[in-house]
Symmetry: C2
Subunit: 415 residues, 2 copies
């Protein structure tokens, strides 16, 4: 039997024990894991050094090496992340509905774990611990398939957590690490219907697309964001400047940053030159429509391909529109349905935008950068779902649960 | 452009108009559709006759022809189904959460339509109307791909509904029928990410498996049910008899009927012979484990393959177990996680069973046949989900919705 199938089966066998644990038992286990990571930080750093050495000799670039690197402080931070998960309310067992039927059947709907969650992700070893914490807190077993660049770090982290779990109520089999770094182990996970209840990809768009395009197991798709901000005719100029600069440059590399700014022609006539100047000072390259380039001569021309690109970089498309309808049409065509914003003082326009734009999060007069589990107050984030099934937008712990109907009868049969 | 892609795009363009409709507008349109079906019943029956003639000359068996056949009374029933959907509460717009963040952001989570729903189903033309009603009530557009055996009936039904919608607020483009009866049109729908938000298969297990195995669009899987009933040592013999007979023979062809009966050895010693006699009188073939066959000499031997088969027929596996643990282990191995029942007077055993069995619906002392949207009081049923994402168990109208975060700010930016 393959490593993937064998480990998924072991994870599945751990589910029944996991689903019956109390919140206190799960929290105790997570705290034990957090402490073990801190106590054993030297062993983790040594293993991480192997990954770094291999990466360096393979010519990995410095920014990727930095994301891979662990030190005592980062390990403290990772352990602290687990402790924060401990402090969150446990969704498992929550009573969602209860009703009585005329025939006397008493029906209860409760939150239960999903079962076995497959996580497919890239190099950062903090995701390993994060995923373990989120899954165990919600009573799920987890099969981890991290990037090969972090394999020594991940192996050591999981070894330490396994040992820590042995003195708790959570069986070590609830956490499985796939060590086979061939692409075929990912392919196998994607088809493991019956053994994996869901697969969650975390990483760049090619990783996510591979999962979406090849999985037969249900997927929670996260990530892609071509986010727009529309500056309406009545937008407050100071607010519009603050919000668009924040949405573009506060952290350009993330999915909720702005890629295209749509500007009403009247606002553009009054304010676009000054606003463009601010973007220029922030080292943002502008790509504009013809009208934009008439006002901002240094902007490069924007193509449809630009409008369809998630730059995650200091590049911004600017398009002047004649009215709200044209803005809505552009968004409907190019949006990835992640986060979209209107800046306006016209409440009717705001209402239309919030109603008509189809996205996980729609904003009036605030930066799209707030689409985030922590900013929403969830205390944790599994990712930001860009699909419409199961969960949409920032996902907290309840996104890692399912439901179950429990029916109490006294001999009812169907007539 | 292919028919599938073109029609999915038209459906997508109708979504924006649909999502803004009031409940009254949607109900008015559904009532207009219901009336039009009744008024035009002769045209539908004539089209249906084409399908029946073609089916008969192709050698289709009589039970399939019966499921395909429409007459005035059946069309009345189908129209009545639409009127029942009108009477149900509209989930769209429902306020699910509202919270204020320390920075003053006001966040609202509301129920919204999924968007464009692809329905892939078999011959019965009533499913066409049912799907249209459920999707439109929840503000979704629908792309229908019914079986080729019903194509003339479906074409006429959709033509009549299109004409009826023209005098209402729902654009006719919200309802699209794929007329290409080649398998390739199904294959194309399954890969239509970005144009279809979800695909729902309805039909036999080969249809469902094809969808699950090949779709890259998110799927709501429905249907497969290998349901067990466990008769514990303390089960009331009369109740056990009533429940198991009901679960097996009241309607063997459906997914919530019982396929395997697990019997505690003590209960078996006292009651299995008499119970087997009742199944025999109901023309149920028994396939038993060795111990069962020692008590019921006419039972055939049961194999692991039998335990893994959804018969949907007058056949029942019977296995004697030594205790609850053995019953739980058998269920964990063979269950499709649909509906599972324990009959017992021992409340501790009942609690363990309800807690530990992983299924959409778990029963104490009632027939598994109750797993059904109407029996649960939902007033409609899209299907019974056997997956854990999005919806589990009988699905009412809320299963055809997603959510959206609406964020009101006054210039907030992220620090």
């Amino acid at each position: 039997m393959s490593e993937v199938r064998q480990k998924a089966q072991l994870a599945g066998k751990a589910c029944s024990a996991l689903s019956g644990l109390t919140t206190a038992q799960k929290n105790e286990a997570l705290l034990a894991a957090a402490n073990a990571l801190v106590v054993n930080n030297e062993a983790i750093i040594a293993a991480n050094q192997e990954d770094l050495d291999r990466g360096r000799s393979n010519g990995t670039n410095e920014s990727l090496l930095d994301r891979l690197a662990l030190n005592e402080q980062r390990i403290q931070g990772i352990a602290e992340g687990l402790r924060q998960i401990v402090s969150l309310p446990d969704p498992i067992g929550e009573l969602l509905e209860t009703f009585e039927r005329p025939n006397g059947l008493h029906i209860v709907k409760r939150r239960v774990p999903l079962g076995v969650i497959g996580m497919i992700y890239e190099a950062r070893p903090n995701v390993t611990v994060d995923a373990i914490g989120l899954c165990l807190k919600t009573g799920n077993a987890v099969v981890l398939r991290g990037g090969s660049a972090a394999i020594a770090s991940n192996r050591k982290i999981v070894e330490i957590i396994h040992e820590a779990l042995d003195s708790t109520s959570i069986p070590r089999d609830a956490v499985q690490l796939i060590e086979d770094s061939n692409r075929s182990s990912v392919d196998e996970m994607l088809k493991l219907n019956g053994l994996l209840d869901v697969v969650i990809p975390r990483g760049g768009s090619s990783l996510i697309q591979n999962v979406v395009n090849n999985a037969t197991v249900p997927v929670i798709e996260t990530g892609a964001g071509i986010c727009h901000t529309y500056l309406d005719a009545t937008a407050d100029a100071v607010m519009a400047t603050d919000i668009t600069l924040n949405a573009k440059v506060q952290r350009p590399s993330v999915c909720n940053s702005m890629e295209t700014m749509l500007v009403h022609q009247d606002f553009a006539a009054a304010h676009l030159s000054a606003l463009a100047q601010r973007f220029s000072e922030a080292n943002v390259e502008l790509r504009g429509c013809e009208q934009t380039r008439a006002l901002v001569d240094w902007a490069k021309p924007a193509t449809d391909e630009d409008y369809a690109t998630e730059y995650n970089d200091y590049i911004l498309n600017v398009k002047i529109v004649k009215d709200l309808d044209e803005a809505l049409a552009h968004i409907a065509r190019f949006s990835t349905k992640h986060s979209e914003c209107i800046v306006t003082e016209d409440l009717h326009h705001a209402e239309r935008f919030l109603q008509e734009v189809d996205a996980a999060a729609v904003y009036h007069n605030a930066s799209t950068r707030f689409t985030d589990g922590f900013e929403f107050g969830f205390g944790a984030e599994i990712g930001i779902s860009t699909q419409k099934l199961h969960a949409r937008g920032p996902m907290g712990l309840p996104a890692l649960t399912s439901t179950k109907y429990i029916i109490h009868g006294n001999g009812q049969i169907r007539g």
